[in-house]
């Protein structure tokens, strides 16, 4: 086991994060997930959305209730969007505001893990990179920091390579034009060229999913509410005992 970890670290892969192998995304709808009692399943809930607009930041906090069992592992997700009509200037001040708000959310919610969800355009990547560096400095190296990724970021070389995050989650749904080639690759035993993209996967329950052959954490998205039936199917898919 020790040898395996040495190999993992030597290959530059991130160390195993302290979250269960199955995570459910709880997005902008009310959810009652108190029926989840398996330690194998956690919840990543959208806590706040930040909108980058001109030289300011608009904040939309979660107002949809999420009920969960206190023992359920939890990740606070913060989504970042940029206003298409009133383009963000991406200034250092705007970045500081974003970092301040993110840290405020962590403090308010008591979150032990944070996930950022930002479909950064090419022109926004430097801003995002610097934001992540700021956050890492403020949160410390021990704080679990995760990010979602577009599959197009998972090529080689990848701009994700030196980001200070513990987990990168390529999203294998709503992929648009990347869909056919990506699915073809993954469904036929291939993998992402970028090593960062190989430890976790983002999936949707209403789209085809590769089989759970390789050991990696799986995040699931559902556009409606989660039901116990959905969870049973996911567990069966992952062949994990529910309770």
């Amino acid at each position: 086991m020790r040898l395996a970890w040495i190999l993992v670290i030597a290959m530059g892969l991130p160390a195993a994060p302290p979250l269960p192998p199955i995570m459910l995304w709880a997005w902008e709808t009310p959810h009652d997930l108190r029926f989840l009692k398996s330690p194998q399943i956690g919840v990543a809930y959208l806590a706040t959305t930040l909108l980058l607009r001109e030289d300011t930041l608009w904040v939309r906090r979660r107002i949809q209730p999420l009920r969960i069992d206190p023992s359920t592992p939890l990740v606070a997700v913060i989504r970042i969007e940029s206003d298409e009509a009133r383009r963000a200037v991406l200034s250092p001040r705007q970045r500081r505001m974003a970092a301040d708000r993110i840290v405020e959310v962590i403090d308010t919610t008591g979150a032990q893990a944070l996930q950022l969800d930002f479909d950064a355009k090419l022109s926004e990547r430097q801003f995002y990179r610097l934001l992540l560096l700021d956050l890492r400095r403020r949160l410390g190296s021990g704080f679990f920091l995760s990010m979602t990724a577009l599959v197009s970021w998972c090529g080689s070389p990848s701009w994700l390579a030196d980001l200070p995050v513990d987990e990168t989650i390529p999203m294998l749904f709503r992929m648009g034009d990347e869909g056919p080639a990506t699915r073809y690759r993954l469904f036929n035993g291939g993998d992402f060229p970028a090593l960062q993209c190989r430890t976790s996967l983002g999936l949707s329950i209403d789209e085809p999913r590769p089989l759970a052959g390789k050991i990696r954490r799986r995040y699931y998205f559902c556009s409606r509410h989660w039901t116990p039936t959905d969870i049973e199917r996911i567990l069966e898919e992952n062949r994990v005992t529910a309770k």
Binding site: D55, R61, P65, L122, S152, P180, H225, T227
Partner: protein
Amino acid sequence: MKFLAVLLAAWMLVAYLAFPCGIPWALPVFSFHRHPDLPRNHFLAGDLGILEPTYARSYLWVAYRHLADIGFNPAQQEQVRLYWADRLTGDWDGNHIDWLDRWKTARARILGVSAPKDEPKSRPAYPWIYYRNLTKAWQVNCADDAFRVAIDTLHSRTARFGRTRDVNNWIEGQEAVFANCLSDQPSFPKDAPPGAPDWLKRDRAYQLAAAALYANQTSQAEARFRAIAADQASPWHTLAPYLVVRVLVRAWNRTASEPGDARTQLELYDKAEKEIQHILAGPRMAPLHGMTRAIWRRIRQRSKPQLALRELAPAILVRDASGSLRQDIWDYTTLLDHFLDEPYYFRTDLERRQYLQERQSLPRTDDLTDWIVTFQSRDPRDTRHAVARWRAKKSLPWLLAALARVDANDPASPELIEASLNTPPRSPAYWTLAYHRNRLRIERSDNAAARAELRTILDQPPVPIPKSAVNHFRALRMQTAPDLAGFLDYAQRVPLMIVSDRNTGEEPNFDYFALDVRLPRLDTDSIKVLNERTPMYVWKKALRHGLPSHLQQEWALAAFARATLLRDDDGMREVAPFVHKAFPESAKYLTAFSNDSTPQDRHFAAVYFLLHYSNVRPYLTSGVAWRTPSIRRIDSYVNNWWCSLDSDNELDWDASDRVVRWITTDPPERPKRADPDLAAGRVSFLTPSDIAAGKAELEKLTKAGTALRFLGTEALLWARKHPDDPRNPESLAFVVKVGHYACSDAKTATLTRDAFNLLHVRYATSLWAKTTPYWYR
């Protein structure tokens, strides 16, 4: 560590090729699905174009009003415009004033303390909310009005009584009230001090009632507000009855949000309704009527949606009425959405089943609702319903709905077509009726009649024709084209805008692509036929038609790729000059086509060429051909070369109607592959034997597999047979690239490995071997 160093060196050595990362895919919009042509003012004025059932419901309401000859006066048009702005921005007069900040400033001014610093800061939508750990959500407890009224009251008391100890006490009391806005810990002002003036005692009574409301101690709040209502001397007594309603509605709301006692919910609702009716019945409470009606509407929409819908439908059809059309249409469309679009949230599967049952109870007793539901419905029974309504009413809305829904086999279609001919060009239904009339003619193979009318529509439209409609009519005209030239002419359409696949609302100013929107492009209807049922000889013939250069380029390359995969030497020889003309740089790869060479030489030259052009595919793409600026640049991960033609939606994935699926169905549907036989059956220029030949060719193209399988196999065969060909090292190196960047699988990994091994065994000293240190699965 050594492994990492070698990896880094390898990356640096191969970095001479640029690896652009992915950008959003550009999709052309030839006609809008979600909304009418922009700007919307024309539609609002009655230029409906070709009405689509996929439009958002407010547009269908606008259309109905015009079809029913009700229309809009200028004030009503403005209300509708404001409604659309509300929908787009979510602002609803929102000025995002930080009322909490304003309260703090006003308070500071009176108390003579430093005001909060006025510096730019991030702006939450509602600063005065607090986090509830129980629900992992923030709660908006206090509305803008709470702060606004407090500020006004503060100014009023200060103006009347001065900056006194009593006013300071009032401020303290108000602070205690507002603490409930920022925390779920109840906070109450202290009682008014002994000897306090009457105004302070009465204001304190009000503050205590407000604190109880915000602390969700609704019984106490109700009792306190009732007491205030009974105190004629209180300045709040006229407002207090309305606040009693607010308390009851809040209590009802909380029970309705949580699973609980249905009887309690009903009792609270009845109690609130009784209070509301008492207010509305009292002429002395007239100042409260407007806001009381508004709150009543809210709770009725939630608890009695059928009733609320039945009341709203006639209200939004009144001609020349003043009033709250902006709010009314919001409420009406929200109610329709409630019935017609399955909500995301159900607490249990039982709740979902109950919802589906309730959905059946959607009242279609008014003509407007019935019409909208019928027009949008995907239930075949609603076609019969539309025809029945038309026959009963003979109205324009129902003629339009019926004609839009029937197919050519429907017994009603001749009478509907006949009736549509009487509609004058100035009618708001004109273009929709003309479109479906000709659609039905084509379905009945009456191409001559369709062609005749479509010629007039496109060449000499009797009234200005919206651009979406032009593209729709060109699509119909394309179907009737008797020859390839006509097909190609009408297959080309100018898009209205180019959007990204993320811009599902088809909103302008959302995307930017450095593309000329004015250039004509091909839509999915023609692409489907060409890619899947058109034989090679037609492809070659099309190259002589004189397509615009941007289309000619892609066409030449796709045709060349097809000919190569089909091992059609004649085809390759005929198409090669067009490839050369479109891409002079291709000459160095295709020299075998200009000298005396064998078919095998030419075949490998073609393979060698295709290895170098990652954006070439054996099929056309709808709209915008290439994502990256150059056809040669390799994307760092995806969209290089081609996958197997029967994989996923390889031939359909760029179809713009994918956007339609995501925005018009709830939950979003995965698009099904369009039927190529159906598509081919709709066009006139292909013969049955053409279609059969095209289908057979597609099967061969599909059997050829992925680009890696085909090109890799051919390159390896050639290198083994012609080991001294100087192109081999480069060819094999590119096979490794294809293996890295294009569709691959466990089986084709052996091709990549074999190419790599051959490169390093036989051509070890070549630059290509040196710059290809690894191969990828």
